[in-house]
């Protein structure tokens, strides 16, 4: 197998690709041949030692993998060789193969590519978690998404729309706002040209219920919500 290895906390270009023996699955584990590994900004922080959690060295980064099960360990009956699966291994994903607990993988539906499945985890996973576990977005509520044209922002618009919310997208250019409208936003605010607060109040008829910022969700209408009305998204 091939594996990206971080031997020291150093600039990104010190990462190396190494050849290692293929893993064989321990009892209860499956080996997945990786077809797509999600790459996130935080992975770059990990390898440079700039994140608050520092993995023991050496390590292979990569927390999101989609691929095919190629071997199963003793006692595994929930997964079979050939299954297309998604998992969130925390580390070890930047490799051709990864060994994982069988209970940690979920099947990938037929219509979804490996890339789409792996790419869903951080953006959509974060927003689904935030909208359903950290605060409760319900049908008809107004959700204001700041930075709505980016990856997380578009996922927020898509998930909030799915939950039945009415979404106001705020972004810095007409192109980003058009992407947010395509993802389901009902109204837009170009905060390069418009007053964010005044327009949000006007569009929602008095004030929005939930605000999605880059790192927190605020629920102005629910100051007694878990986390005191603010919900960290990661």
């Amino acid at each position: 197998m091939r594996s990206v290895v971080c031997h020291e906390f150093a600039p990104i270009d010190r990462l190396v690709l190494e050849e290692r023996p293929d893993p064989s699955p321990d009892p209860g584990q499956v080996v997945v041949a990786v077809r797509a590994a999600g790459v996130n900004f935080v992975d770059g922080l990990f390898v440079q030692g700039k994140y608050q959690i520092k993995p023991p060295l050496p390590f292979t980064p990569g927390g999101e993998v989609a691929g095919d099960v190629v071997a199963i360990g003793d006692g595994v009956d929930s997964v079979a060789v050939g299954d297309r699966v998604l998992a969130m291994p925390w580390m070890g994903g930047f490799a051709s193969h990864v060994s994982l607990p069988a209970r940690s993988v979920v099947p990938i539906p037929g219509g979804l590519t490996y890339g789409q499945a792996a790419g869903l985890v951080q953006s959509y996973g974060t927003m689904l978690f935030s909208f359903t576990k950290r605060t409760q977005v319900t049908r008809g509520e107004w959700v204001l998404v700041l930075g709505a044209g980016g990856g997380i922002g578009l996922a927020a618009v898509d998930v909030a729309t799915h939950l039945g919310a009415r979404v106001i997208a705020a972004a810095s250019s007409p192109a980003k706002l058009a992407a947010a409208v395509a993802a389901g936003a009902e109204a837009t605010i170009d905060y390069e040209r418009e007053d964010l607060k005044a327009r949000a109040r006007e569009l929602s008829g008095g004030g929005v219920d939930v605000v999605v910022d880059r790192s927190v969700i605020a629920s102005p209408s629910r100051p007694s919500a878990p986390c005191g009305g603010w919900a960290a998204t990661w």
């Binding site: 091939r2 990206v4 990104i12 270009d13 990462l15 690709l17 041949a33 990786v34 077809r35 797509a36 590994a37 999600g38 790459v39 996130n40 900004f41 992975d43 770059g44 390898v47 990569g62 998604l86 998992a87 969130m88 925390w90 930047f94 490799a95 051709s96 607990p101 209970r103 940690s104 979920v106 099947p107 990938i108 539906p109 037929g110 219509g111 979804l112 590519t113 490996y114 890339g115 789409q116 499945a117 792996a118 790419g119 869903l120 985890v121 951080q122 953006s123 959509y124 996973g125 974060t126 689904l128 978690f129 980016g150 990856g151 578009l154 898509d158 998930v159 799915h162 993802a183 990661w234």
Partner: protein
Amino acid sequence: VDGRDPEGNQALLAELMRLAGDGSLHPVEPTEYGLDDVVGALTDLQDRKVGGKVVLVP
């Protein structure tokens, strides 16, 4: 979304796959890099040269 709640994480992944599979959610195709171009992928992300999602394809 982290390593502290494996059961919760797996349930969340399963729900994501269900919603994406039945068309309730609309994920975009990511930008692909080879496994041997991990430095390029991480550098482009850091420098904001690539938008949306990025994946490595071994």
